[in-house]
């Protein structure tokens, strides 16, 4: 696996403006101090794990296509080898129940197991950031690996264990295995594969820090106009919603501060519109300029537009449109029912193990054959 080296145009820009400590007179003509926004663009989360919706779909499709053709090949081989003995009923059952999963079905299974990762990690009493990283690692793994190649249930503990280490929350593998009721070998078996699939990118920017920052800033900008007790209550609710948002594709499409603002806005739309209006609106520019500038919101906006304006200035309407889009997608993300997940999991199992499906079919037929004469007898008697 080769790491994509970060020589993007941004990085070149960053290095060339690096001489920031030179004396004023020596500053290059296009001198610009590096903003938090520049730094975020440099992060592996932005470089490797941020997508447009099309990119994301394309990537999942590729993964699914690869696995589907592998499964079809295996199934074809199985059918060929057993051609002489397969009954019509068996062939039908295979066609119906042992077909490879679609991209949508894969996603259902991944979503179901992501939730499981969260529940198990919470059950293990892990800190919020570790839980968040577990979910993130797990979902990233299945962007490039299919559930038909790696059974998601085999990666649940592996991702949680790696997340613990990566977030500096060390637990020995033995005590982790004991707590999680698993084994050392099962936990470590796919650790390498996991790290490799994560493209060795382990540092996550979760929205919890922006949440803290925005709450402080909202209280500054709306000083005296918000009830602190109320703020404390919605803070906890927002935190929970952030963890839920990590179970969705939102994290690939928006930046952490965008997600945070959208989530606060879902809790209290008025609060956010008042805050952003004061901070970035044109009319109240005087009051807004008192607050500290926060350029990290405009991450996804185009470079040219950004450069045309002073870096503090954020176009409010554009920001509001991004937030509306983010809110819309957050509200539309659906959870998967256990029944649906079970169905997909069974299909996943049978398409990889057609012989077991046939055995099951045989047993069923035998059982009903064994039963039917008895029934007949009963009727005759």
């Amino acid at each position: 696996m080769s790491r994509e080296v970060s020589k993007t145009p941004e990085s070149v820009k960053l290095e060339s403006s690096e001489d920031l400590q030179k004396e004023d007179s020596n500053k290059p003509p296009n001198y610009k101090r590096i903003s938090d926004d520049d730094l975020y663009r440099h992060s592996s989360q932005y470089r490797m794990w941020s997508f447009t919706e099309n990119n994301l779909r394309e990537r999942r499709k590729q993964t699914n296509d690869r696995a589907v053709s592998m499964i079809n090949q295996q199934l074809g081989k199985f059918m060929e080898e057993n051609k002489s003995t397969l009954t019509e009923e068996e062939t039908n059952t295979l066609n119906v129940k042992a077909s490879p999963l679609s991209m949508e079905e894969e996603l259902q299974l991944i979503n179901f197991y992501s939730k499981k990762v969260q529940v198990i990690a919470q059950h293990l009493n892990l800190p919020t950031e570790v839980i968040a990283t577990s979910i993130t690692f797990f979902r990233r793994f299945f962007l490039d690996n299919s559930v038909m190649e790696y059974d998601p249930k085999n990666l649940v503990h592996t991702t949680i264990f790696l997340a613990c280490k990566s977030e500096n929350y060390f637990i020995s593998v033995d005590s982790f295995a004991k707590k999680a009721k698993s084994t050392r070998d099962a936990i470590l078996k796919y650790e390498f594969k996991l790290v490799e699939s994560l493209k060795f990118s382990l540092l996550n920017h979760h929205p919890y820090k922006p949440l803290h920052g925005f709450f402080l800033d909202i209280q500054t900008v709306l000083h005296g106009k918000v009830d602190l007790k109320y703020m404390g209550q919605i803070y906890d609710r927002c935190k929970k919603k952030i963890t839920d948002s990590l179970l969705t594709d939102i994290v690939y499409l928006f930046t952490p501060p965008q997600i945070t603002l959208a989530i606060i806005s879902l809790e209290d739309e008025q609060l956010i519109s008042r805050y952003l209006g004061l901070k970035f609106g044109k009319e109240d520019a005087t009051e807004a300029s008192k607050g500290e500038s926060d350029t990290s919101i405009e991450n996804k906006e185009e470079d040219e537009e950004k450069e045309a304006k002073p870096s503090e200035e954020i176009e409010l309407n554009k920001l509001l449109a991004i937030l509306a889009d983010c809110k819309d997608k957050l509200e539309k993300s659906l959870s998967v029912t256990t029944d649906e997940a079970k169905r997909v999991a069974a299909k996943n199992y049978y398409c990889q193990n057609p012989s077991i499906l046939l055995q099951k079919l045989k047993r069923k037929l035998e059982a009903s054959n064994a039963e039917s004469p008895n029934k007949k007898q009963k009727v005759e008697e």
């Binding site: 080296v5 690096e18 400590q21």
Partner: protein
């Protein structure tokens, strides 16, 4: 399959968790170093130091931070492909055949501070700065290396271990066993390195952890509640010998070649109270870097032994 892109030619070092080889990038012929992490040695899977190193180097791209060129897996080992850096500041300081000037020291300090500033503005603490971890490129550039002890800047209530940083470069708050600390621990280390560059011998060479406090406070004064509120509430404070801080004159006598602004920079990096210790920006903007002599162009510093 990127293992075939690199050759390992010579084993140059072996640590507790890695073997380092010199080699070449086949496609370019460039010299590189391959750090092979001995994963099989660890019963807990991938080692924490390896995870930290990979995690932070992935995020850092700066002329004064070691460049992680590639990572690959081969035979169940994790291999980090790093830029080739032939020497380090410890070797240079120790080799008495190498002569260097105050302008050379200024150049190294400038590059070190720029690198660490970049680490800090990415919300990362290095936690093991020492001359041995400041590597030098063939072009003379300082490269901050070894992120095996690094971590993210802690949140306000997060508890950390104070058992970090090699002893001689350990800040007083760590010596006191503080459970919470921040960027200031790295600045302290750079301050001690600065002194060592001027003296050409280790500045605060404690023999053990207790002796490190003694050595540190004898040289720089024992902190009191006046300049560091509540420092006396640390466990063990009462057993300390109280030394007065050195006067400017005493410092001048110890650091004969240092200018006044060099001493000011050093004093502020070695401030006992981490709250008032300078951050990397204050250091970089200090008078020391503005006054003459100008820092030597890195390529002009002769870091290889000169036969006298």
């Amino acid at each position: 399959m990127s293992e075939s892109n690199y050759s390992k030619e010579k084993k140059v070092g072996e640590g507790t968790y890695a073997v380092v080889y010199l080699g070449k990038q086949i496609s370019t012929g460039n010299e590189i170093a391959v750090k092979e992490i001995k994963t099989s040695e660890f019963k807990d899977g991938l080692d924490m130091s390896a995870i930290r190193e990979v995690k932070y180097l992935q995020e850092l791209d700066h002329p004064n931070v070691i460049n992680l060129i590639d990572i690959f897996m081969a035979y169940d080992n994790l291999n980090l492909v790093l830029e080739f850096l032939p020497t380090d500041l410890e070797v240079v300081i120790k080799d008495k055949n190498i002569l260097f000037t105050p302008a050379d020291i200024k150049s190294w300090m400038l590059m070190t501070l720029r690198g660490v500033y970049h680490v800090h503005r990415n919300f990362i603490l290095h936690r093991d700065l020492k001359p041995n971890n400041l590597l030098i490129s063939p072009e003379g550039l300082i490269k901050v290396a070894d992120f095996g002890l690094a971590r993210a800047v802690p949140g306000p209530r997060e508890m950390l271990t104070s058992n970090v940083v090699t002893r001689w470069y350990r800040a007083p708050e760590l010596l006191f066993g503080a459970k919470h600390y921040t960027y200031a621990v790295d600045v302290w280390s750079i301050g001690v390195i600065f002194a060592e560059l001027m003296l050409r011998i280790p500045y605060l060479p404690g023999q053990d952890d207790m002796n490190q406090m003694e050595v540190t406070f004898r040289a720089l004064g024992t902190p009191t509640d006046k300049d560091w509120p509540e420092v006396s509430s640390f466990a063990g404070y009462n057993k300390l010998q109280i030394y007065p801080p050195p006067s400017r004159d005493e410092l001048r006598k110890r650091f004969i070649a240092a200018t006044e602004s060099a001493l000011t920079l050093m004093e502020n990096m070695l401030m006992m109270n981490p709250q008032t210790r300078w951050d990397t920006i204050q250091c970089l903007e200090s008078e020391y870097f503005k006054e003459l002599p100008a820092p030597t162009d890195p390529a002009e510093i002769n870091i290889f032994a000169q036969k006298a």
